[in-house]
């Protein structure tokens, strides 16, 4: 065993890690030669300076050393109590990890810049969630440059609104429990604007299975919502378009095939609409269609789905509604439109066909009955007609 104090001293002095001995009040009592480089000041200046006891529940923790020229040097710190001549000193070991962090993070930054072409925002954080790299799409979405977010935690991007706090907490909980998370989350851009993003967070482990990074990929839902809006809505009236209604129809058909029940459709078109276009022009015609759409939305219930089926044809899907109730709504809409004075054209009327879905009937058959009903209504115009129920062949 080495019992000689000078032998221990030379070990400490050879160490390339910084070793400090602190008095019980946290003042530096001894610093080894390596400390000179880490703190950027002569050893004599260090002794007698206040450092403060290190308190952490972790085995080692990150401490930033204030360096007069280099700024702040990241170190990994460990501490232990040792007794010398009856006094309890704190021994502190500081390992400069700034070089390791720089190399590692430089590699990550190069990797993230390589993801230039990716239009999803990307952010890599350490296991303690401090940001080490982001890609250009991150900057495009959040407004923050790489320099501005480095070393910060994603806390910087939070909305700061109480109603969002719970979803952040929930996300962290799931992330800790299951290791990954995907979902929608609200954040704030640098310009203060709050936006919704679709976020996917995955962990990266090292060879020993230790969590080292999180990789977060996200898309701006503002864009996704805008695309969805474009894909599902009619550009002129803002109602659902034919494709979107088709999806809802398929869903309703599946529902009644499985659980029974009923739904109805109202199909209507404008009487003499060609004459409106011919005498007032297409711009006026478009405005009439927009007004009809507005009146329709006023009349239908929240659960009904109104769509522009094409040209001057509209369709309303009424879930859990039989033909009698659908007829009541159709009549109300017919009267409402007939009673409206359209500023550019005067009065406009519509004709409507109504059909309730029958189990075992195909959509094509139902649409055919609906068409027949509308055709009959059209014969006298400004009228709503119920489609005949399907014949025994279809039952």
């Amino acid at each position: 065993m080495l019992r000689d104090e000078t032998a221990f001293r030379s070990l400490v002095e050879l160490s390339s890690d910084t070793i400090l001995l602190l008095d019980p009040d946290g003042t530096v009592a001894y610093a080894n030669p390596a400390a000179e480089r880490l703190f950027g000041r002569p050893l004599d200046d260090l002794v007698g300076e206040p450092f403060g006891g290190i308190v952490t529940a972790e085995e080692q923790s990150d401490i930033y050393i204030t360096h007069p020229r280099l700024g702040h040097v990241a170190t990994s710190a460990r501490s232990t109590t040792i007794r010398l001549s009856g006094i309890a000193y704190t021994a502190i070991y500081l390992r400069d990890i700034s070089e390791r962090i720089r190399t590692e993070e430089e590699r990550l930054r190069q990797f993230s810049v390589a993801l230039n072409a990716v239009d999803q925002g990307m952010m890599i954080t350490r296991s303690d969630t401090s940001i080490v790299a982001v890609n250009p799409a991150f900057t495009a979405i959040t407004g923050y440059s790489q320099e501005e977010v480095m070393g910060h935690t994603p806390q910087l991007l939070r909305t700061g609104q109480p109603e969002d706090r719970e979803s952040y907490t929930e996300m962290r909980r799931i992330l800790e429990r299951e290791g990954h998370w995907e979902g929608a989350l609200r954040n704030r851009r640098k310009n203060g604007e709050i936006y919704e993003q679709w976020l996917n967070i995955s962990p990266v482990h090292d060879d020993s299975g230790k969590l080292i990074y999180y990789v977060a990929l996200f898309s701006d839902m503002t864009d996704i919502n805008r695309l969805r809006q474009l894909a599902h809505h009619d550009y002129l009236t803002g109602l659902f378009n034919r494709a979107a209604l088709q999806l809802h129809l398929d869903e309703e058909l599946r529902r009644i095939a499985r659980y029974g029940g009923v739904f109805s459709l109202i199909m209507f078109d404008l009487d003499h609409f060609k004459a409106v276009n011919d005498s007032y022009g297409h711009d006026t015609g478009d405005r009439v269609l927009q007004q009809i759409a507005e009146l329709t939305l006023d009349e239908v219930r929240d659960t009904d789905i109104a769509a522009r089926w094409g040209g001057e044809e509209f369709m309303i899907l009424l879930p859990e509604t039989d033909s009698d109730d659908a007829l009541v709504l159709a009549e109300r809409l017919r009267r409402c439109i007939a009673a409206t004075a359209f500023p550019e054209t005067g009065s406009i009327t519509i004709s409507l066909g109504i059909a309730a879905a029958h189990r075992d009937e195909t959509l094509e058959d139902m649409l055919m009955r609906l068409d027949q009903a509308l055709y009959r209504a059209k014969e006298s115009r400004n009228r709503a007609e119920l489609a005949p129920t399907p014949g025994p062949r279809d039952m």
């Binding site: 946290g26 530096v28 450092f51 990150d62 070393g151």
Partner: protein, 93 residues
């Protein structure tokens, strides 16, 4: 009763700094539940380097108890709350 005055020095909003802030706030809640008042000031020495020099800050994050005397300072992420209390010579009972 005079307030307990704490000053936390950090160097930028690093993850360690955020943890230290969170731990210190938890601790202050505990202290304040005993009826004592705590004034906390957080100083980012990247923004105010002169203050770091005045206070001879060797390492961050570090919390300094200015009042009541005696002066105490504790560095680290402050995650062991009981030890922070002992180190700062404060009581929650």
């Amino acid at each position: 009763m005079t307030a307990i005055v704490l000053r936390l020095y950090i160097a930028g909003k690093t993850a360690t700094a955020e943890r230290a802030i969170g731990n210190l706030r938890r601790l202050i809640t505990e202290i304040e539940e005993t009826g004592q008042r705590v004034d906390l000031e957080i100083v980012d020495i990247l923004e105010q380097p002169q203050l770091a020099e005045d206070e001879r800050i060797l390492a961050t994050p570090v919390v300094i108890k200015k009042l009541p005397e005696p002066l105490r300072r504790i560095a680290g992420d402050l995650s062991a709350l009981d030890q922070v209390l002992i180190g700062l010579d404060l009581q929650v009972r």
